[in-house]
């Protein structure tokens, strides 16, 4: 039982991991053919992974309703939201447009999913403003450097900011867009690249650990 529960899965990850890794160094037709098969398989298996999320969401809200947990009434709206998209999709056979006319599904997308999804993150704009006022504290030289870089970007991003810059600092003969370009293409690159290189090796190590079966959190418990 341990064989099929543990050893074969770990063998799968070792074999497929190593072979896929080798395709990078082996240009032969056989390696390409192997990779093509893997691509097609991966694309299909990854599609099923979506159902994990779906079942997880449905199940967690089902238990909430069945236990009458706090605020269980709202959980019903998860199912209503699902049906609000799924039924029109079924009626329109998964098509958004019929010629240049919106189908039912296109309608549901435009007037239900679209505003919900867009607004969820638009709310954050308000918090940025209040954070800027209430907790952006220039406590140190480091924070001041951060503030200064942010300031150039904020002003340089909008035409009014560019005008203000020209009014106040036009005499320096530096346009704010030059300064923004310099920040983005010199010091910011150094900062990002420094972070990136360490993380890249981290990713490579994690990939190694996965292929060799050292990292097996994703397998879950026995």
């Amino acid at each position: 039982m341990k064989l099929i529960k543990k050893q074969i899965p770990l063998a799968i990850v070792l074999v497929f991991g190593t072979l896929t890794l080798l395709t990078y160094f082996v240009p032969h037709k056989r390696s390409v053919n192997f990779l093509e098969t893997m691509n097609k398989w991966e694309n299909i298996v990854a599609a099923f992974a979506f159902f994990l999320g779906l079942i997880n969401l449905f199940y967690s809200h089902y238990t909430k309703i069945s236990r009458k947990a706090d605020g269980w009434g709202y959980s019903i709206f998860v199912y209503i939201g699902f049906l609000a998209i799924a039924i029109p999709a079924y009626v329109s056979h998964g098509k958004n447009m019929d010629g240049s006319v919106l189908t039912w599904m296109g309608w549901a997308f435009k007037y239900i999913y679209n505003p919900l999804s867009a607004t969820m993150f638009a709310v954050l704009a308000f918090y940025i403003v209040s954070t800027a006022y209430k907790s952006f504290r220039i406590r140190s030289l480091q924070a001041f450097v951060l503030f200064a870089a942010a300031m150039f970007l904020i002003l340089g991003n909008v035409p009014l900011g560019q005008m203000i810059w020209d009014k106040l600092f036009g005499w320096t003969s530096y346009a704010i867009s030059d300064i923004v370009d310099w920040i983005m293409h010199v010091p910011a690159i150094a900062g990002k690249r420094g972070i990136m290189i360490g993380i890249a090796i981290g990713v490579v190590v994690t990939a190694l650990k996965i292929i060799f079966g050292i990292e097996r959190q994703y397998l879950g418990k026995d």
Binding site: Y24, F25, V26, P27, H28, K29, R30, V32, S60, M120, F121, V123, L124, Y127, I128, S130, T131, K134, S135, F136, R137, Q142, A143, L146, F147, A150, I195, I197, G198, I199, A200, I201, G202, V204, V205, T206, L208, K209, I214, E215, Q217, Y218
Partner: protein
Amino acid sequence: MIKNKSGLSLVLSFLAVTTVFAATSPRPSAQLPPVTRLTAADMPYDVGGTALLKWDVRPEDTPDVLYQIYVSSMESGGWIKADEFPADTRTGDGIELPFWAWNASVREHVVKVELNNFYGEAQTTGPVFRFKVTSVKDKKSYDSQVVSAGTVSNWFRLDRLNNLVMAILVFIVFFWAVSHAKRKGLFIRRIAGLDAIDEAIGRATEMGKPIYYLPGIGNMTMVSTIASTFILGEVSKKVAQYDSTIKVPHKDPVVMTVAKEVVKQAFLEAGRPDSYREDINQFVSYDQFSYAASVDGMISREKPAAIFYMGWFMAESLLLAEVGSTTGAIQIAGTDEEAQLPFFFTACDYTLIGEELYAAGAYLSKDPMLMSALKTQDFGKLVVMVSVALGGILASLGGLMHWDPFTRIIADLFKAY
């Protein structure tokens, strides 16, 4: 691998042409000698279907001369025009291959012929094709001799050798680090932010107010969450020693089960199992913003003395850190999510940036896996620092002295193909 059947004809024509060439070297511009010493071969390091034609660069190669490449799959005739370009272009250094895999000569014309563009893909690898190069000037064309070659599917990308060497190095260093970490342990410097943790807990004890520890919204497979649980262990041990109170609100139930174990263990190790309570860890909500809103509510009601944000945070960092800072708590944050770091940095007293969070976890836990990953990362950084410093100096030296082959070696070493 090269199936060159033109050896004999090549030598013969070479002899013939050199005699002609020697006899009439200062020729009038209207006349153009045909291309000589043409060779055809398989393009190395590829899947097949691409042939490589080479011939010498000649003094006659002026921009007004055109080269045309013809290919045929038949014994005679059947020529298809495959390429056309001015004679002063397409030399050996135009092929993007590193010095260890390719001799980039500017004295040679090198042209890749993609046979797949003209014949069905199934027939291009294996069979022999015939090629000729025609030079055209003033609407008159001069054919070279015909050469033939077939292409094959190769087994190794020699041009990607630098990548392979690096991969093998990472591999060796990692397994060396694992074995060392298990036997003797490895050195990791103390992380400055950890001192701030002690201070924050001390202050909370003095003030008699609770401590909040937020482990982020990530799941247990993320390095940041794993590191966070180790830090939670250390923090709760201190809390137990000082007899202070701690609260850990959760978004992920799996992380919560792990955190419960960690906190319980910490209280046990501190000798205070009696002060451990089940409600230290509490589940708040599955949803990002509801979680943030509820925790905001808790923070503004209880006004904790210290708040830790350690782990994987997304947009909710903004909502949380702001409320925390307005209550006047000492705030210590750590995340590897770059986009959130600016908000933490401006709103918190101390911030662990990216890998510092992993390092703090490794430092506290001495977990061999975290340690060796960190060590391998350090090794990678060392490689980069040395290569950038040395490579930068050598490249500028080469650039100043115009040692082109030398600078090319440096550039090729650090290029991915």
